[in-house]
């Protein structure tokens, strides 16, 4: 079982705020995820020679221009950027 401290530590690292009432639920969910990895580990497979995704190949796009997003939309998640650019301030 994942401990309460471990959940809080991961939440802290991921900059997530967990309400007191959410901690126990998160513990259970994370435990489920980790044990699923154990399930996958049980599979014996030849990972070197995996077959192609259902035999699909050659998925191409045609060389035709489609509309790009407006600059404002592209920079929306970085508070609008600066002078049309993504902006990274100098750090020391």
């Amino acid at each position: 079982m994942i401990s309460r401290e471990e959940v809080l530590n991961i939440a802290n690292l991921s900059k997530l705020y967990l309400d007191e009432s959410e901690i126990e639920g998160a513990q259970k969910e994370m435990d489920g995820m980790i044990s699923f990895a154990d399930e996958i580990n049980k599979i014996k497979a030849d990972c070197e020679n995996l077959p192609e995704l259902g035999g699909i190949n050659n998925a191409f796009h045609d060389d035709e221009i489609k509309k790009s997003c407006p600059q404002s939309k592209i920079l929306e998640n970085v508070d609008g950027g600066k002078d049309g650019y993504f902006y990274i301030k100098k750090f020391n």
Binding site: I56, N57, H61, D63, I74, D83, Y85, Y87, I88
Partner: protein, 470 residues
């Protein structure tokens, strides 16, 4: 001790497709920042890349033109590194199964520079540094590149320059890239090492990144060669590292210690499926390849008798060479066209870019018509050259600038008469000439030429004058 220089080049060639490699945003230089972008090329979670069909076609074309084998199955891989120019923190490239392998470019000396492989990949974003801050423009992120990787077969900076010029020329001929160095559409990473003369074992290499000028590349290689030798001679060791060339001081500085492949944690990109090609598809593309510069060069020298230096100038620029090919149809002497292009037309095209573009008003068929008049003896070279100047200015055909009488030439009798008249009315010049002043003859020649209104042949007139004076 004497040392051998060992150089290998990794050249990034930006492809001139309409769209980016994994999305349908425009592949365009010079747009406002971050305007040719979408969720795929700024790497937002949940998006899926899809390979541009044209990039594959261009890669095949390049492979065939560079004598490579085309892989029937190739795959895309992720190259992991963290830097703001890569929004996904990995670059989609090819590592394990590149699309082309084992080619070569032949230098003029006959030496073959082997190409290890060519792979397709996406370009990173452009970073602009201003007072320590970083500005990122993702327009270039996802622009398709071919990376052409040589074996360490290059043994001088001159060979490196020749290889790069040839590569540039071939890429332009097959129409997959503009290869404009100043716009960064062809860039080079240069691996340099030295070893004791004749030794089999390669020395430790350094890599100079992002060279975008052949002149600077040559200087950088020469500088590194000297630096390595000096280090070794003084009992030091060359450190494997990535360098930046500084043109202002003609030196290099360290960017970081050099990564090896394992540092990039390459692995197969699970978002992209295999590229499977058929042989007939490759042959179809082979049939679309134009005549390549080397073939043209040989033809110009061997069949048309054009001096190699001049033939190289014609071949260097695809538009010039295409113009020349169209202009010479049905002509006896292709050399005349070559002389006009190099001697007259190039004079008005100063920059490399202007020559590359070769935007001139005179069409190939007008040029053909002009040279045909010369070949049939109707127009002499003097008048033809004068007419060509006017043709180039106006875009009008030769018939606009030469009259019927100009085209009739001049009879030997008439020429003799004009020469005799000139001798009569320029007694002083004749005396001077007879007393040994060769130059005096030019005055007489000028006089006759004026009378013929340029129709006469200067050499013929000169020898006739000499004959008459004696």
């Amino acid at each position: 001790m004497k040392y051998d220089l060992v150089v290998g080049l990794e050249t990034h060639v930006e492809l001139n497709t309409k769209t980016k490699i994994f999305c349908n945003c425009a592949n365009k230089f010079g747009s406002e920042p971050n305007t040719n972008c979408c969720p795929i090329c700024i790497g937002l979670p949940g998006t899926l890349p899809k390979l541009n069909r044209q990039v594959v076609n261009f890669a095949i074309k390049a492979a065939l033109a560079l004598n490579c084998e085309v892989s029937l199955v190739s795959k895309m891989d992720r190259k992991n590194y963290v830097y703001p120019d890569l929004p996904k923190a990995y670059q989609i490239s090819q590592f394990y199964e590149p699309i082309c392998k084992n080619g070569y470019i032949e230098l003029d000396s006959g030496k073959k520079i082997r190409i290890n492989h060519i792979h397709m990949e996406e370009d990173a974003a452009k970073l602009v540094y201003k007072s320590g801050d970083t500005y990122v423009d993702y327009n270039r992120g996802g622009v398709p590149l071919l990376e052409v990787v040589t074996e360490p077969d290059i043994s001088s900076s001159e060979e490196a320059a020749e290889y790069l010029e040839k590569l540039q020329m071939i890429m332009r001929y097959i129409g997959v890239s503009d290869c404009r160095m100043q716009e960064g559409s062809i860039k080079c990473d240069v691996n340099v090492s030295v070893k004791p003369e004749g030794s089999e074992k390669l020395g430790t290499r350094t890599e100079i990144k992002n060279m975008n000028s052949i002149t600077f590349m040559v200087k950088a290689i020469d500088y590194e060669r000297e630096r390595h030798i000096e280090l070794i001679e003084n009992g030091g060791k060359v450190e494997q590292q990535t360098l930046r060339y500084l043109p202002e001081t003609n030196s290099t500085e360290s960017m970081r210690s050099k990564e090896d492949a394992q540092d990039y944690r390459y692995f197969r990109d699970p978002d992209l499926v295999d590229i499977v090609l058929r042989k007939d598809q490759i042959e179809e593309i082979r049939n679309t390849l134009p005549e390549l510069p080397d073939v043209r060069l040989k033809k110009y020298v061997n069949e048309f008798g054009i001096a190699e230096k001049e033939a190289m100038l014609l071949v260097k620029y695809k538009n010039v060479s295409d113009y020349f090919e169209k202009s010479i149809k049905g002509l006896k002497n292709a050399k005349t066209v070559s002389n006009f292009i190099i001697g007259q037309i190039f004079r008005s095209l100063e920059t490399e870019a202007e020559k590359e573009e070769f935007k001139i008003l005179t069409t190939p068929s007008q040029m053909n018509e002009l040279v045909k008049l010369i070949e049939s003896g109707k127009l002499n070279m003097n008048l033809a050259k004068k007419a060509l100047i006017k043709m180039l200015e106006s875009g009008k055909p030769v018939t606009e600038f030469v009259s019927e009488s100009d085209m009739q030439g001049i009879s030997p009798e008439e020429m003799k008469k004009l020469c005799e008249e000139a001798i009569k009315s320029n007694e002083n010049a004749v005396k001077d000439y007879l007393s040994g002043k060769e130059k005096a003859l030019k005055a007489l020649l000028g006089c006759v030429m004026k009378q013929t209104r340029g129709r006469g042949n200067a050499q013929e007139i000169e020898s006739m004058l000499k004959g008459l004076i004696r």
